[in-house]
């Protein structure tokens, strides 16, 4: 009897068991309160199950009670790193509904600030990406350069992060007299600093080993899961709203849509770094050509959108943000839906991380560039 048992124990492989681990809600690399339930076999990930909603504030429900001017302020609190683009999405949607003619000056300024916001968002992402992979120094480098952009914002509209610079019909104030000079100074400064990013991280052997071939996402999956923004474009999914459905002043600037076909973490990383170059190119084209004119079109104090449905999309730093407004000709929308990029991007995390190790999950999550309030809304 005992012998039999011993024999079977020798014949069979040692019994292993899958186990669960809770990553988050308080975890350094979930960048906020995201909870991932991992099913692990040793260190290999079998399944990632995101549990969201820890900071769900029901912005959509609040919007049903607010006027359109108030809604703009709520959008800052979604994806706080691309606040300007979020504001812009709502404003463009309202302007589309009112069929309002927007001064050229507003369009150009909005585009410049959008690109500055994108730059600052990518700088922060770059710093955090390095930190997630254990290179803590990058974090401080990213913040060092981001500081200059937030200073420009502070001078322009008084706020550094949640700017509320847009109002339906235009901008809250005109730009500061220093704006052009400081932006140009920043571009000359950052042109020199961006190669430093490559020196510190992109060309590091450990970094490339950690990111190449990790977190693979095919083009079909990217489209099916609705992964947009730099993450989608790194899988070969051409989804740049700025190119496909130009808004503001994007139709008159020359820039390249960054597309990589590898679909791994390194491609997503490169896509964002290249996007920073393109953003600087866009700003350079516009900064000297801000047309004179009003900074705001005339709007009524109470905005009522005509009955109907309006959809407006913009390209935020994370992907395609959609605002879907159903109006019944009242001062607040009947229904308002934000199609947030992070929500869709997160849904693809499971297939991207499956089969990789815990350390790779951190890299994958980092290259998706998740902002939790954007997911939870």
């Amino acid at each position: 009897m005992i012998n039999e048992e011993a024999n079977t124990a020798v014949e069979n492989k040692p019994e292993t068991q899958e186990y669960f681990i809770n990553m988050g809600p308080q975890h350094p690399s979930t960048h906020g309160v995201l909870r991932l339930m991992l099913t692990l076999d040793g260190e290999i990930i079998k399944k990632v199950e995101p549990h969201l909603g820890f900071i769900h504030r029901s912005i959509e429900k609040m919007c049903e009670k607010d006027s359109y001017q108030q809604i703009v302020h709520l959008t800052d609190r979604m994806d706080y790193l691309s606040c300007h683009m979020n504001n812009e999405a709502v404003c463009l949607c309202v302007e589309q509904g009112l069929q309002l003619e927007i001064p050229e000056r507003v369009k150009v300024i909005r585009t410049i600030i959008s690109e500055l916001t994108r730059l600052s968002s990518h700088q922060l992402w770059w710093g955090v990406m390095g930190m997630d992979l254990g290179a803590i120094t990058t974090f401080l480098y990213g913040f060092r350069d981001r500081e200059m952009i937030t200073d420009i914002f502070e001078e322009t509209c008084g706020a550094r992060l949640t700017m509320n610079y847009n109002v339906p019909g235009g901008l809250m104030f005109d730009i500061h007299p220093n704006f052009q000079k400081r932006t140009k100074d920043f571009i000359t400064y950052f042109k020199k600093k961006l190669p430093e990013y490559d020196d510190l991280l992109s060309n590091n052997v450990i970094f490339t080993e950690r990111t190449k071939g990790i977190g693979m996402l095919s083009k079909e999956d990217a489209i099916s899961y609705g992964v947009t923004g730099p993450s989608g474009r790194a899988s070969g999914f051409s989804c740049d709203v700025r190119k496909h459905f130009p808004y503001s002043a994007y139709d008159r600037v020359d820039f390249r849509e960054i597309i990589y076909t590898e679909g791994d973490c390194y491609a997503r990383y490169r896509a964002r770094i290249d996007e920073m170059h393109e953003s600087m190119k866009i700003i350079e084209q516009l900064i000297d050509n801000i047309p004179e004119g009003d900074y705001k079109a005339k709007t009524k104090a109470v905005i009522k959108l005509p009955e109907g449905e309006y959809y407006q999309r913009v390209e935020t730093a994370r992907g395609e943000l959609g605002v879907y407004v159903v109006s019944d000709n009242k001062k607040s929308p009947y229904r308002l839906k934000f199609r947030s990029p992070g929500f869709s991007n997160l849904s693809a995390l499971n297939i991207m991380a499956k089969g990789d190790k815990i350390a790779d999950l951190v890299a994958t999550m980092s290259t998706l560039d998740l902002v939790i309030p954007d997911i939870d809304r």
């Binding site: 992979l133 254990g134 290179a135 803590i136 450990i206």
Partner: protein, 362 residues
């Protein structure tokens, strides 16, 4: 008292004689042990505190900031304030954890480097244990620490801790090989494991210069492997802050956490001390063969300054790694050891033997 900064032998002997003259022999021995123990305790505490401060300043230097500046002049009292805070914090023990092993782990972790530091030669004559197997003793004793880490991970009843501990176990056992083999490469030249003999053999020049190319290769392998062995970045797999929150010491708080923290820095010191002793002549000043004039000038600088200078340089190098490189993944880490470092090391050892046999070294 004949105190001589260049040679502590007389100083130590005079203390010994004084003790023997005052106490009976047995009591004198015990008093001697206690004095040495107190000296080391003080030294380790001060070392830990100052290394933490240095680490923070070095890190700040790499990250273009100032580091601690508020407490004391240039923040020098910051770590003291931290340790006071840690002492007064509540030592939490997680529910369901193995209390005995949980407490034991912290002590094993701190005891291991404490034992190893006894064999480190600080200056001529300032040497507690001078075994003829001194180097072997240090490598053997300092790797007891891994038992503490494994125990900590196991007894915490936390999956993050367990993963961290398992990673750490695999890592330290693997890299121990490379550390020992790279040291062995130099032992081929010295012909002795006794630390004082190793230092004495470098009277006409340090092994890193005398030992030809294999010695330089051995040094590079040593510095990589020992960084990995001490669980420091880019090999801080066991802690992996962004993956495993804090790895094996996730559940520790207060003074027990401070033990883990302190042990890491004392290990750092021991690694730098071993590296300095074997490759850079320990307290031996920089000598070039029979170039008497130069050697005399170098001798003018006291050995203890040479020793701590070399250690400071090596520690700075290791800190430089940590604050520059991203972290490796566990499989990459093991691949690096078993597929690259170990074969290179074995070939290097063979090369060194050939060099030593033919007398091609200097």
């Amino acid at each position: 008292m004949n105190f001589n900064i260049y040679d502590f032998t007389g100083f130590v002997n005079s203390i010994k004689q004084w003790l023997n003259s005052v106490f009976p022999p047995a009591v004198a021995d015990i008093t001697g042990f206690v004095i040495i123990g107190i000296c080391f305790l003080t030294f380790i505490t001060l070392l830990g505190l100052s290394l933490v401060y240095i680490e923070r300043k070095v890190c700040a230097f790499f990250q273009q900031r100032l580091g601690p500046m508020r407490v004391g002049f240039w923040g020098t009292a910051q770590t003291v304030a931290d340790i006071i805070k840690l002492i007064f914090k509540e030592p939490l023990i997680a529910k369901g954890s193995d209390k005995f092993l949980f407490n034991l782990a912290a002590f094993i972790v701190i005891v291991a480097p404490f034992m190893a530091i006894a064999a480190v030669p600080f200056a001529k004559g300032l040497h507690v244990l001078d075994f003829d197997i001194g180097l072997f003793f240090i490598t053997a004793v300092s790797s007891i620490g891994v038992t503490g880490i494994l125990l900590a991970g196991w007894s915490s009843n936390n999956k993050y801790s367990l993963i961290g501990a398992m990673r750490s176990g695999a890592q330290i056992v693997s890299y121990e090989l490379s550390v020992v083999l790279s040291l062995l490469t130099i032992i081929v030249l010295t012909g002795s494991l006794q630390l004082s003999a190793i230092i004495e053999s470098q009277r006409d020049g340090w092994w890193i210069f005398k030992g030809n190319i294999p010695a330089i290769i051995a040094f590079f392998i040593f510095i990589i492997a020992s960084t990995a062995e001490s669980n420091r970045g880019p090999f801080d797999m066991a802690e992996a802050e962004s993956e495993l929150t804090a790895g094996f010491h996730t559940e520790y708080s207060g003074i027990k956490f401070a033990y883990f923290f302190l042990a890491e820095y004392i290990n750092l010191f021991i690694i730098a001390a071993v590296g300095a002793t074997v490759f850079f002549g320990g307290w031996m000043p920089l000598h070039i063969g029979n170039f008497e004039f130069f050697n005399k000038i170098m001798d003018f600088i006291p050995p203890i300054i040479w020793f701590f200078g070399k250690i400071a340089a090596l520690i700075f190098l290791i800190m430089w790694f940590k604050w520059t490189f991203p972290r490796l993944r566990i499989d990459q880490l093991l691949t690096l050891e078993w597929k690259y470092l170990l074969p290179i090391n074995l070939v290097n050892l063979l090369m060194m033997s050939v060099v030593a046999l033919n007398g091609w070294h200097f």
